[in-house]
Point group: C2
Chain length 265, copies 2
């Protein structure tokens, strides 16, 4: 199956000093501006990457409030801190997705159960229990099987799981070979797990690090087309990357169930 | 498996009046210019689409000579006329690919045996015996199985077969749904036939007919990325379509077995 890619904005990141300062002061305005931009550019969900918020987990509730006052799009709560997660989960009226868990023991113990408790979807990263990234497709397949096994122990519906294979930056050793393993993995996951499991990929990872900007743009857009062709469901991306957005728009005009229209491209 | 896409130029077409006139006069110059342009832009094989050459099948030998005097790239002999094909096959020193056969009785009887006789690769179109195009993935899968059965009767090596699923123009009724069926088919063909069968797609078909040029470019490039992500092996394309070439270059920088280099993008 090839369905239209769902665009998830990754623009709300605590690593952005504008966001960090706004959060510190609890000033909604700069955050509202970014969320409005994402909505205008066609985001279909907003990822709130708050970082761990170790000392102030309650601030996740503030972030959720700012976002849901602008839009009723689904919100991804992107933090490794279970307290911050729960503050967001109790505050959020919009559809909520937990981002996310993995085979890391702390995540299995404290994050995965929150998806059960709050009946949300949850993203599962393909990471080893020691937080390392598998180096090839076979490694990712094995982790996906173990992750699904852990997920099933919670007695949740299969469509609550979204798998993130973790895109490798091309500048990593064998990064591009790993990413081609991910393309193949996405093609094979439905056979491997026995159902059309949802998948998400953090597109911006591909070109992180040094590189010429125009080539980064074409590489990211082309890779996004490949991911769409492999059967990816959700693209977590920077809404300011127009070439990637244009590519997704074109892919989605093709994979839509509507009659084709040039206006959709 | 995802391997770099092989770029096949579709620019030598008898439907181009420049080519038609050059062929009529047996004037190599305009043909040489087009072939040189294709080679400069990175074509890895040249398709000679001569039409049926009903009255002058021997002219295929002239076309082959003009091309092989410019380049030693593989040549695809693209005609439904077995006499023209054989004239090309006997003349061609370069690697030769027959383009192609199908379940149509005349093609099975007169074209397929030429691949056996001259020990070449041959492209098999997914068409019904009555020349109709299957309307969905299941239809194409059934035709692929029958085509492979007919191919096997000739006792040729599996890697001599290249399957062309026939891209549907988006302006056809359900054209885009058909093309998404093709994306899925390309993903599934290795499982279906039990080996990594080679595939080719005529990219220009997608946007044939009316439509705004800039949107045609982005649609073709994005769809090519999807085909690469699905596992396509060869793209038959117009070498003047730069956005599609840029996309293939980027996809191939990722799927290359070489260490990633920005220079390759």
């Amino acid at each position: 199956m090839t369905t239209p890619l769902i665009v998830v904005a990754d623009n709300l990141q605590i690593t952005n000093p504008v966001i960090a300062k706004a959060l510190e002061k609890e000033d909604p305005k700069p955050i509202v501006e970014i969320v409005k931009m994402c909505v205008e550019k066609g985001a279909q969900a907003i990822d709130i990457n708050s970082g761990p918020l170790t000392k102030t987990p309650e601030k996740m509730a503030f972030l959720v409030d700012v976002v849901q006052d602008v839009t009723d799009l689904p919100i991804l709560l992107d933090t490794s801190n279970p307290k911050a997660l729960e503050a967001g989960l109790t505050q959020c009226r919009n559809k909520t997705i937990i981002n996310g868990f993995s085979l890391e023991p702390e995540k299995l113990k404290y994050i995965l159960p929150l998806a059960k408790k709050y009946n949300t979807q949850i993203i599962g990263y393909l990471l080893y229990p020691n937080s390392h990234v598998p180096s090839d497709e076979t490694g990712r397949m094995n982790v996906a099987l173990q992750l699904f096994e852990e997920f099933q122990k919670m007695d949740m519906a299969p469509d609550q799981l979204i798998i993130d294979p973790i895109i490798a930056p091309v500048l990593w050793e064998n990064g591009n070979q790993q990413d081609m393993g991910i393309i193949s993995l996405i093609r094979n996951l439905p056979d491997l797990l026995g159902f059309e499991v949802a998948t998400i990929a953090g597109i911006s990872n591909l070109t992180s690090g040094k590189g010429p900007k125009p080539k980064k743009k074409i590489l990211e857009a082309s890779f996004t087309g490949m991911l769409a062709g492999a059967g990816l469901h959700m693209a977590l991306m920077n809404m300011l990357h127009h070439m990637t957005l244009d590519t997704i728009r074109a892919c989605n005009a093709l994979s839509s169930e509507m009659i084709f229209a040039w206006d959709a491209v």
